[in-house]
Symmetry: C2
């Protein structure tokens, strides 16, 4: 119940390090610190590394709720389009060249390589390697935000960018929020000790340490082997719901609507015909008790108005069936009115 070290509970850090090393990494305890949710890590990275007018590069789309922490510190966001394999490397390099020519300073590249939020896309290893090469060439730090990685239903895991980068410029953010409970507010950061030292300094004045009580609760839970048991149950449950939601989409959605078929994570990303603005149908859906996140929330260049993110992890099959059916009706009505 006392204050703990800012770096985090040593036993929890040790268990996490050992768990990563069993999965192929080669970490020591100096490569891992505990944070108050990975949102805090984003905030600390911004505080330490960003000056006003620095650029942060992210995906088009990307979860802006999280990375608004960057803009709070005066940074500018620049989005790079994704294709079905994630961020397009050529577009990234073109942008880096252009920004350099304009005399802009790009500091950070923010990526969600596994089951990207909201697109659900996983970057293949080859593209991860190319992006690391570019980051090296243009002297940029990479934030590998990885909350969904372990929620994989099928297919082959790709390597963590942390594992692919020997140069120490990847900062990997992990979290218990999607594999145990968001209400604990505990995440962890993997990276070069010199970078983590700076984050720890910033964390001292941010909250001194993450709740030692909660860290001990999680450590005990992991010691008992319950994390892996719970994770397996979570994955089985979410896989079933994902599969069922995809069936409902096929059954109810009009032909002009497209959606992703994610191998993991919590979301479908849905693209409506260009004529439909997801903001326009939001209130109509809410009236029928169906909620989604409007896609424009994810585009830092103010596009993506015909897209939406739909969560399949939370509802039971009956609710999913009813929800998709009602949403399809709203979309059909909107299409008919055009």
């Amino acid at each position: 119940l006392q204050y703990g070290t800012t770096e985090g509970d040593p036993s929890l850090r040790k268990m996490l390090v050992e768990r990563h090393n069993r999965q192929g990494l080669n970490l020591s305890i100096e490569n891992l610190i505990i944070v108050t949710g990975s949102q805090q890590a984003i905030d600390l990275i911004a505080k330490v590394f960003l000056n006003p007018d620095d650029y942060v590069i992210c995906g088009l789309p990307s979860y802006l709720g999280g990375i608004n922490a960057f803009t709070v510190y005066g940074a500018k966001l620049k989005g790079i389009p994704l294709d079905e394999q994630g961020m397009i490397v050529e577009e990234l390099e073109d942008t880096l060249i252009t920004l350099r020519e304009l005399g802009r300073k790009v500091k950070l590249l923010y990526l969600i390589p596994d089951f990207q939020n909201p697109a659900g896309i996983t970057l293949p290893n080859s593209r991860r390697e190319k992006i690391i090469q570019l980051a090296k060439k243009y002297d940029i730090l990479i934030i590998e935000d990885s909350p969904y990685r372990e929620v994989r239903f099928e297919g082959e895991p790709q390597k963590l960018m942390q594992e692919l980068d020997p140069s120490g410029r990847v900062i990997t953010l992990c979290s218990f929020s999607k594999i145990l409970a968001p209400g604990f507010r505990v995440g962890w950061v993997i990276g070069h000790p010199a970078i983590l030292d700076k984050l720890v300094m910033a964390k001292q004045t941010a909250d001194i340490c993450t709740s030692t009580f909660v860290q001990k609760v999680i450590a005990r839970y992991m010691e008992k082997g319950l994390l892996e048991q719970n994770l397996k149950k979570t994955i089985d449950l979410y896989r079933e719901r994902r599969t069922f939601m995809l069936q409902c989409f096929k059954k109810y959605m009009p032909e002009a609507v497209r959606w992703t078929e994610p191998q993991g994570g919590l979301f479908l990303f849905v693209t409506l015909p260009q004529t439909i603005n997801a903001n326009d149908i939001f209130n109509k859906a809410i009236e029928r008790n169906v909620a989604f996140v409007t896609g424009s929330t994810f585009f830092c260049n103010d596009t993506g108005r015909n897209t939406m993110r739909i969560n399949f992890s939370y509802s039971n099959p009956d609710e999913i069936d009813t929800g998709v059916k009602r949403l399809a009706e709203v979309i059909c009505e909107e299409l008919a009115s055009k």
Copy 2:
């Protein structure tokens, strides 16, 4: 176990509001938010209100570990001397006049009105009122940091500055760290809703919300009436230790040493003869298993080298007796060597 609202658990906020109102305040739920320890509140206030080169005024001495959060955002600290009643109001006004003449912008006044850390001094109501008047005149926000207030052994409680200020410019920081457990990392902020709204916006990108799990644990603990029971035990224990430490000081310390006799809190503040630098005797004390915080840590103008803060809350009577005795020996040896 889910995410909660950024403002904090409604039942915990409600209980805290009711508790304050029983103590004489007149708050509604919009006047109170939960934070991840009051350290986070300092960080959020700095983030929201400070620009580089703004001035923050604090006591000489004052706990700089906490308010280094201000300097992280580029603010400058200016210290005002304390007398035995706390911050000297005339010195405060002189400084405000001087800084205004120099064209400097003073944004915040940081105070610990009850059992000030490290000096142990409590500001009387009359001085609290005068300081609020000055803050109004010079358009400054007051941070009333109040972690020790409830740990009172004797004497009459003064009013919270929050209660004395009808203008809404006092932001009061409270914490469970000294009345329950620092390892929970839960505090709360009282203030004008317009100010709290800004802090909530900043908290969203800092950690989304304070651990909902820990908030529920504390709410349950309070519902059962255990907080008041535990607080009474804490106060009785600390009072006993404070009284015993004062006896040991009288018994062992050479005549040239002075110390405070605090009516609450956790610390004695000790002033050595001017010829002794507390930093010089620190290692010698550590060798004899006695630790203290060197006083210069508390002076933003690099003075106070002959002072030290000594904690009486943690050790049992035997340890206090031995510790004070050994510390007195070290001081006597140092005096003899001059």
